[in-house]
């Protein structure tokens, strides 16, 4: 099965989108970095495997493992029931807290205040799905292809509210001090998990064991804190 072939090859191919900071990105010297990147590196090291990143875009993360072009996905996959019909998810290795963030000067306290505002999100993310399902709230949603475009839209003034992680909300003000954003309404907390092809119980078991161990020893929390500036929920801090 897949686990054996990984072990035989002494190499694990991990599908990661390197254009979704702070989980996957490039540092100043154009080396891959980010929380997902370090998780992947840790996994490869612990299992004594060589690591190969399969560069993907948001749209091709899943097809990559389905067609065997990558072994597993570590790329801010949040778990939903719908998606679980297509791939298997491991236990969560991190969570993603997302908020509605708005221009600081904007008087937004609850959902009602958002009524005539346009909220920017990255298309197809769980934030997008969550907001889209709030039919009763009469939100106007502007979907961008990725977080970076969404941030740029916020920086340049195309939108005054965004639905994304707190880390990214803070980033907007850094880019344009004239437009400081802050978290206004908590949206949801999503579980992030490793994705793999259906029907690989042995690999799944080994992954879950590894995740449990690294939650306990606090390594996953440390990585998360390093990039996201906050800690994982209390029960995941080891």
């Amino acid at each position: 099965d897949l686990l054996d072939s990984i072990m035989q090859a002494k190499k694990i191919r991990i599908s990661t989108d390197l254009a979704i900071p702070p989980s996957g990105m490039m540092d100043g010297s154009m080396k891959a970095t980010g929380s997902d990147v370090e998780v992947a590196q840790l996994l490869a090291k612990d299992w004594g495997l060589e690591l190969e990143f399969i560069q993907t875009t948001g749209a091709t993360r899943i097809p990559n493992v389905l067609t065997g072009k990558a072994d597993i996905i570590i790329s801010t996959l949040s778990v939903t029931a719908e998606r679980a019909k297509v791939i298997d998810f491991s236990n969560r290795y991190a969570t993603l807290q997302s908020d509605i963030g708005c221009l600081k000067s904007l008087n937004v306290k609850d959902w009602a205040d958002l009524k005539d505002k346009t909220v920017g999100v990255a298309r197809g993310t769980t934030q997008d799905t969550t907001l889209s399902n709030m039919k009763d709230k009469e939100l106007k949603i502007a979907r961008y292809d990725d977080d970076a475009t969404e941030v740029t839209a916020a920086v340049s003034g195309q939108v005054d509210c965004v639905g994304t992680s707190a880390t990214i909300i803070n980033q907007i003000g850094v880019k344009n001090p004239a437009r400081i954003f802050e978290s206004k309404i908590p949206l949801a907390t999503f579980d992030l998990a490793v994705g793999l092809k259906k029907g690989e119980p042995r690999l799944m078991e080994k992954l879950n064991g590894w995740i449990a161990e690294n939650i306990k020893n606090g390594k996953l929390n440390a990585i998360y804190k390093k990039f996201h500036g906050v800690e994982l929920p209390a029960d995941m801090r080891g």
Binding site: I62, R83, A153
Partner: protein, 227 residues
């Protein structure tokens, strides 16, 4: 390596696909109409006696034709916002597509203009027609008739290229597909469906252009011969 395809799971989102397809057609329609107009103006401008106008038109055409549409769309979308102009994604998308297809139309129209025999222009001058009248009666219509197939292809390509408008939050067909496939993780089904939809849309457009040509070119309708 079997992958189970589950089309019904994706097809049940047909209202989204339909909405996306309609928006794609709308984008293509407005950009085609406006782009044809802009491109014709630019083609006329390139023949202007004023060096300034002719140069400006040339720079426009070359700058657009040699850079990717996506970059143009970003620059328009974020550029306008930075100077305080907050237009809807649809408006910006139409504007950017118009600017883009206008440049290509200008090139095609220019070729059409060049194909008008000099003798035609002299005959028209000899009949005391004014410059504007010559453009309208003697140059424009035959030029369009002559390059009509190229224009048709160009506008179909525009429709296909409008997929990059998903980047600036226009919910056209590709945007819808991306949304659905990341929601369901059923990328294959989604992509196959939109491939079929795009082929269908391009056939619809070609049929539309064929019909328009039928109305526009009575000579061709009657004689069936190329100009």
């Amino acid at each position: 390596m079997g992958i189970e395809l589950d089309f019904p799971a994706v097809l049940e989102r047909w209202p989204n696909f339909l909405g996306g397809a309609i928006l794609t057609l709308e984008l293509a329609f407005f950009a085609t109409v406006l782009g044809a107009f802009l491109g014709t103006l630019a083609a006329v401008g390139r023949r202007s006696h004023s060096l300034l106008i002719a140069r400006t038109c040339k720079v426009y055409v070359e700058a657009i034709r040699n850079t990717p549409l996506l970059v143009q769309i970003f620059l328009v979308y974020f550029g306008l916002a930075s100077i305080g102009l907050k237009l809807s994604a649809f408006t910006v998308a139409v504007a950017a597509l118009t600017i883009n297809v206008g440049a290509y139309t200008a090139e095609i129209m220019r070729a059409g203009f060049d194909a008008i025999p000099r003798g035609q222009l002299e005959a028209a001058e000899g009949l005391a027609l004014s410059r504007l009248q010559i453009y309208w009666h003697i140059i424009l219509l035959p030029a369009v008739e002559r390059v009509y197939p190229a224009l048709t292809s160009q506008f179909v390509l525009l429709m296909l290229a409008s997929s990059v408008c998903s980047q600036i939050s226009a919910e056209e067909l590709t945007a819808v597909a991306n949304y659905i496939q990341s929601d369901t993780y059923r990328a294959f089904e989604t992509y196959i469906i939109i491939a079929v939809l795009y082929i269908f849309l391009s056939l619809v457009m070609r049929a539309g252009f064929w019909g328009l040509g039928f109305v526009l070119f009575p000579r061709r309708r009657r004689l069936g011969t190329p100009l």
